[in-house]
C-alpha cells in the first residue's frame, strides 16, 4: 500500500506540490492575518474592563466552535474557494492568540511597569520595551496553538474548495483509493507536526534569558 502511495505521488508530483504549496500559503496567510489583528487587540484590551470581558468571552465561545462547522457556515455566505477558506481559518486562529495575548499582558508584574514609568518611559515605550518582551513567550504559545489548528483546519478547507492536501484525502475517501488518501494524510500529518515543532523552538528562542531559568 505504501509503495502504491509512493508510486501515486511520483506520478502526480506537480499536483502534489501545488496542493502542498496552497496548503502552506492558506495556513500562513490565515495565521499572519489573525496575529496582526489579535496581538494588538489583546494588548489594547489588557487595561480595559468591560469591553475586554465581552471580547474575551466571545473568544472563549469562538474557541469551542467545531472547525468544520465554521468552514461550513462561511460557504453559503461567501461561496467556495481560497478567500472563504482564508476567512474561516482566520476566524479560527483569532481566539487562541487573543486570549493568550490578553492574559500575558495582564500577568506582567505591575511593579515592573511602575519602575519603567518611574524611569520616564512613555506608555508606548512601556508596551514595546517592557510588557511585550515579558509577555512574548505566552503570546507565542497562543500563536503556536493557532498555527497547529489552522494547519489541521486547512485540511478541512478542501470541502469548501480551499484546495490543499485535503483534496487528496477527500478524493481518496470518495473513491476508496487508499494510495491517494495516504498521499494527502501523511504529508498533512507531517506538516502539522513540523509546524508544532517549529513554533515550539521559536517560542523557546523568544523567551528572555532571565525568564528561561524557571
Amino acid at each position: 500500500m505504501f509503495i502504491e502511495a509512493w508510486e501515486y505521488l511520483a506520478g502526480h508530483q506537480a499536483q502534489f506540490l501545488a496542493a502542498l504549496w496552497r496548503h502552506v500559503a492558506l495556513s500562513a496567510s490565515a495565521l499572519a492575518i489573525a496575529a496582526a489583528i489579535a496581538v494588538p487587540l489583546g494588548v489594547r484590551l489588557a487595561d480595559k474592563g468591560g469591553s475586554a470581558l465581552v471580547a474575551i468571552n466571545a473568544a472563549n465561545i469562538g474557541r469551542t466552535l467545531p472547525s468544520l462547522a465554521v468552514l461550513a457556515l462561511v460557504m453559503p455566505i461567501m461561496g467556495t474557494g481560497f478567500a472563504p477558506s482564508l476567512f474561516a481559518l482566520t476566524l479560527l486562529a483569532l481566539p487562541p492568540i487573543l486570549i493568550n495575548t490578553h492574559t500575558a499582558i495582564r500577568q506582567v508584574d505591575p511593579d515592573i511597569v511602575d519602575a519603567a514609568r518611574g524611569m520616564g518611559m512613555t506608555a508606548l515605550e512601556i508596551v514595546r520595551k517592557v510588557e511585550l518582551p515579558i509577555a512574548l513567550p505566552v503570546i507565542f504559545a497562543g500563536i503556536r496553538t493557532a498555527a497547529v489548528q489552522v494547519v489541521s483546519g486547512a485540511v478541512l478547507a478542501a470541502y469548501i474548495g480551499g484546495g490543499g492536501l485535503g483534496d487528496f484525502i477527500t478524493a481518496g475517501i470518495a473513491m476508496m483509493a487508499l494510495p491517494q488518501l495516504l498521499v494527502g494524510a501523511i504529508p498533512a500529518t507531517l506538516l502539522s507536526l513540523g509546524t508544532d515543532a517549529l513554533f515550539a523552538s521559536i517560542q523557546r528562542a523568544l523567551t528572555p534569558a532571565g525568564l528561561r531559568a524557571r
Binding site: M1, I61, T64, L65, P66, S67, L68, A69, V70, A72, L73, M75, P76, V148, V151, S152, V155, L156, A158, Y159, I160, L165, G166, I169, T170, G172, I173, L178, L181, L182, G184, A185, I186, A188, T189, S192, L193, D196
Partner: protein
C-alpha cells in the same frame, strides 16, 4: 426555515447520534486516562512518555487521522471513536496527573498517618481533591470530541456532520446552516455546563 420545520425529526436523530458517539468516546477516553494519569502521577517516566505520545497524536489533523485509520478499521463509527479517544488522551492524562500531583503532601501524609491504605488515600483524598482539575480537562476533551464528530460524518460515523455534508453536496444551504449551528450550539452548551460543574467543585474544595 421551512426545511427545518419539515425535517426537525431528522435533525433530532442526527443530534442524538452525535451526542451518543461523543459520549462513547469520552467514556472510553476517561477510563483509559484515569488509569494512565494515576500511574503517571506516581511515576515521572510514565508521565513523560504518555504525554509525549498523546501529544503527538493530538497534533495530527482530524481528517488525516480519520483517513489514516481507514486502511486499518475501514469506515464507520469505530474509526471516528478511535480517533476521538486518541485526541482526548493528551488533555485528560495531563489533567488527571497534574490534579493528583497538586494535592499537598501534608494532606496525603496526614491521611496515611490516620492509617489509610495507599488505595484509600487515592480514592478518598487524592482523587476528590484533584476533581476540579480533572473536570477542567473533561471540559476541553468534550469540546474536542464534539468537534471531531462533525468531521466523523465523512467516514460514515453519522451525527450532525451528515447534514452539513449532504447540504454541501446538494448545494442546499438550510441543511448546512442547521447542521453547523446545531453543532456549534452543542459545543457551547457542553463547554458552559462543564464550566459550571468545574466552578462548583472548586467552591466545594475550598
Amino acid at each position: 426555515m421551512k426545511w427545518l420545520i419539515n425535517h426537525w425529526e431528522d435533525v433530532l436523530i442526527a443530534l442524538g447520534e452525535h451526542v451518543a458517539i461523543a459520549l462513547t468516546a469520552l467514556v472510553i477516553a476517561s477510563v483509559v486516562s484515569l488509569a494512565l494519569g494515576i500511574w503517571a502521577a506516581k511515576n515521572e517516566r510514565v508521565y513523560r512518555v504518555s504525554l509525549a505520545v498523546s501529544g503527538f497524536l493530538y497534533t495530527i489533523p482530524t481528517l488525516a487521522f480519520l483517513a489514516l485509520l481507514i486502511p486499518v478499521v475501514g469506515l464507520g463509527k469505530t474509526n471516528a471513536i478511535i480517533c476521538m479517544v486518541a485526541f482526548s488522551l493528551m488533555i485528560l492524562i495531563r489533567n488527571v496527573a497534574t490534579g493528583i500531583r497538586e494535592v499537598p503532601e501534608e494532606v496525603t501524609d496526614a491521611a496515611r498517618g490516620m492509617g489509610m491504605h495507599p488505595a484509600e488515600v487515592l480514592l478518598r483524598v487524592e482523587l476528590p481533591l484533584a476533581m476540579p482539575v480533572i473536570v477542567a480537562g473533561l471540559r476541553i476533551a468534550a469540546v474536542t470530541v464534539i468537534s471531531v464528530t462533525v468531521v466523523g460524518a465523512y467516514v460514515n460515523a453519522g451525527g450532525l456532520g451528515t447534514l452539513i455534508f449532504s447540504g454541501m453536496s446538494n448545494d442546499f444551504a438550510p441543511k448546512i446552516w442547521t447542521g453547523a449551528i446545531t453543532a456549534c450550539a452543542l459545543a457551547v452548551v457542553a463547554d458552559l455546563s462543564l464550566a459550571r460543574l468545574e466552578s462548583r467543585l472548586k467552591a466545594r474544595a475550598v
